[in-house]
């Protein structure tokens, strides 16, 4: 049995209103500590994004991609999943890495591509991969991760692990071949996967009406025979609850869920574009009033868990943490040049061994190994 919420644009799962009030019928019942952990991760993510975008402007890192305004889209789900569920993410969920407590200095190192970078200076900034957290390398070609996540989920089911895979695409990504392939495969296979469309209104410069003639993205779930829910993506309780429910269905063997998170990208697509050139500023202003962090803060204050002094202390702590991570990384050397030849295959083939030898000999070092 599949159900669909969000066949028309007025249909949206919202629990936490912009004024910080909660719908008592839908309240997921999170305790204070859980709410605070989500809030702190959201603030830390935004502070990190600001700092790293500045770093890009200063020429310290080559590229950056912020998630400003979309923090609830990754942090609600991260809180709803277990720590060993698999992530096959897109590029706008740094909050999930922060929530899963990947050390900030490793996130920063990845953007520098230095010797601390676990991807060893090989991947573009923000294309994080962390094996220990089951977070697979972010793919630049759009949509490819959806079908891969369905495969990961198929493996979890086959191996009898009560784990799910979660994957993200943007509104533009729903036009890709592999979105279709992945959605269809997942539904036919009843794979325990959660596919999230982070609909932020814009695929770089292309607005959603140029991506789809469907009134909502959730309508697509109907055709695949998949449960779909249209969720307020700036409401961390709604993103949490939608993913928690989807996870429960998945591990019960009821198959995948498609969630459309309606949100807005307050910044550019990446450090490479200026959104003022392609979209009206007024649109942005209207969405600032629905800020996901502000909303949760109002809620916490009303619940007596937060005040101005705590807010100031948290901001101070987050800024200090990211500044320390940046400063530490400024002193880290570049990866060894010869490391480039490693890991193409698990075993070094003869031609790469020869190339590596040549490089070593050019520097007066010995033969490999």
């Amino acid at each position: 049995m599949t159900t669909t919420v969000g066949l028309d644009k007025d249909d949206l799962l919202t629990i936490l209103a912009p004024d910080g009030t909660v719908d008592p019928e839908l309240d997921p019942g999170l305790d204070g500590a859980q709410c605070l952990r989500m809030y702190e991760a959201m603030v830390q993510t935004r502070v990190m994004d600001e700092r790293l975008m500045n770093l890009q402007r200063q020429g310290r890192i080559f590229f950056y991609l912020a998630s400003t305004g979309q923090e609830a889209c990754s942090i609600g789900p991260a809180a709803a999943l277990t720590p060993d569920d698999w992530w096959v993410p897109g590029y706008r969920q740094p909050g999930a890495f922060v929530y899963r407590e990947v050390p900030l200095k490793l996130l920063v190192a990845q953007c520098y591509g230095n010797a601390w970078d676990v991807t060893k200076g090989r991947q573009m900034p923000v294309h994080y991969a962390f094996r220990e957290q089951n977070m697979v390398s972010i793919s630049s070609p759009i949509g490819t991760q959806v079908i891969q996540a369905a495969g990961v989920a198929m493996a979890m089911k086959r191996r009898g692990h009560a784990k799910v895979a979660i994957t993200y695409i943007g509104d533009g990504g729903t036009s890709s071949n592999d979105f279709h392939a992945g959605m269809n495969f997942a539904a036919v296979d009843k794979a325990p996967v959660i596919v999230i469309c982070e609909n932020n209104g814009w695929a770089i410069s292309v607005p959603t009406p140029r991506q789809t003639a469907s009134e909502t993205f959730v309508q697509k779930a109907v055709a695949y025979g998949m449960t779909g829910v249209r969720v307020d993506g700036n409401d961390v309780f709604a993103t949490y609850k939608a993913v928690r429910d989807a996870r429960e269905r998945a591990v019960r063997g009821e198959g995948p869920t498609f969630l459309e998170f309606v949100t807005y990208r307050l910044a550019g697509h990446s450090s490479s574009d200026d959104p003022k050139r392609y979209r009206p500023e007024a649109e942005c202003e209207a969405w600032r009033a629905k800020d996901p962090i502000e909303r949760l803060r109002l809620y916490l204050e009303a619940r007596g868990l937060w005040d101005a002094a705590r807010e100031e202390a948290l901001l101070e702590r987050c800024r200090k943490a990211i500044n320390e991570a940046v400063n530490d990384n400024e002193r880290v050397p570049r990866p060894e040049l010869i490391s480039m030849f490693e890991d193409v295959w698990a075993e070094l083939p003869p031609d790469l061994a020869a190339a590596l030898d040549e490089e070593r000999q050019a520097r007066g070092e010995g033969r490999f190994p």
Binding site: S137, T144, A155, R158, N177, E342, P350
Partner: protein
């Protein structure tokens, strides 16, 4: 010894792998109830069930991408793609993820995936089924590319391919499935790093792989009638190429003819020729010859198809040219 077909040898290898390791499963189009478009997986569904022999929705990027995910998730999938032509629908998954992920992730994630696909012409299936694009795959770092040309290799290459922690692409030439020959009851494991000398000879080296091996051996027999002793090298491993075996052969024969069913321009034959030019220049007594498919889409009509492909007479003539005859 018993007589088996190439098709049965591949099937037996899959059956053995699935019996030995619960993690192995087969994914693809029509691999289950139908037994595979070329009949390779017949009987496997009955033995291993739908969980392990999966008829997937008809999308190459879908079942290849799902195979990648399954490999990441700890399984050892074999993905069957009906033909190399259709694998182009999955090229992004193969090249941009499977081949790159270990390096891009800093050795955190590998993709132990085996892709089996049919290649080549000779069955009147026309341009969109019949091309030989092995050279494209051999271009890509991160893939191991194998071309079993014999029944022993069809039987023996799958196990080491599954044991490989990285993606392996196995090309089965469509014209080989009905090839029949002897196979030991317990076949020996096959080395997937080395080329093989299929016929020793002193006068000229015929370098080939896959579906052209039979033609090269026939040409060698014809050349023997003319008093020319040809050596036949089966590349077997298209990436990484086994230069040592090639160079040792050319050092003996001083002449080389490369037979490749792919198109000449930008081909694997071109790569082999370049390597011989770079590393065996002073061993060579004659220009390297290449016998490839005509640079046209492979046609349907039998006489046109045959005319487009490398032919035994063409190989013989090329070998004779290297000898000044």
């Amino acid at each position: 010894m018993r007589e088996v077909t190439y098709r049965e040898a591949v099937r037996e290898a899959m059956r053995e792998a699935m019996r030995a390791d619960e993690r192995v499963l087969l994914l693809g189009e029509d691999v289950g109830r139908y037994g595979g478009a070329f009949g390779v997986s017949k009987g496997l569904l009955e033995e291993f069930g739908e969980e392990r022999v999966r008829d997937t929705p008809l999308s190459e990027s879908g079942f290849v991408g799902a195979g990648i995910g399954a490999a990441l998730g700890g399984l050892r999938p074999i993905v069957e793609v009906m033909t190399v032509n259709f694998s182009l629908l999955a090229l992004d998954q193969i090249v941009n993820t499977a081949a790159l992920l270990r390096h891009m992730s800093g050795d955190q994630f590998g993709v132990p995936l085996v892709l089996r696909m049919t290649t080549g012409a000779g069955r009147q299936l026309a341009a969109q089924h019949s091309h030989s694009l092995e050279g494209w795959y051999a271009h890509v770092p991160g893939l191991r590319v194998l071309a079993p040309a014999t029944i022993e290799d069809a039987r023996g290459m799958l196990a080491p391919a599954l044991a490989d922690p990285d993606p392996v692409v196995l090309f089965e030439h469509a014209g080989l499935y009905n090839l029949k020959g002897p196979l030991p009851e317990a076949p020996a494991p096959v080395d997937i790093a080395r080329a093989a000398v299929r016929r020793p000879g002193r006068d000229v080296t015929l370098v080939t792989y896959g579906g052209s091996l039979g033609k090269a051996l026939e040409a060698a027999a014809a050349l023997a009638e003319l008093g020319v002793d040809a050596e036949v090298i089966d590349l077997r491993v298209l990436r990484p190429l086994d230069d040592a075996t090639l160079l040792a052969s050319v050092a003996r024969t001083h002449r080389a003819v490369i037979v490749d069913e792919g198109w000449r321009t930008g081909s694997l034959a071109g790569e082999v020729a370049a390597r011989l030019g770079e590393q065996a220049f002073y061993d060579l007594d004659a220009p390297i010859e290449r016998v490839c498919s005509a640079e046209v889409p492979i046609p349907y009509a039998r006489h046109l198809e045959l005319a487009a492909l490398p032919r035994v007479e063409g190989i013989v003539a090329a070998a004779l040219r290297t000898l000044g005859r």
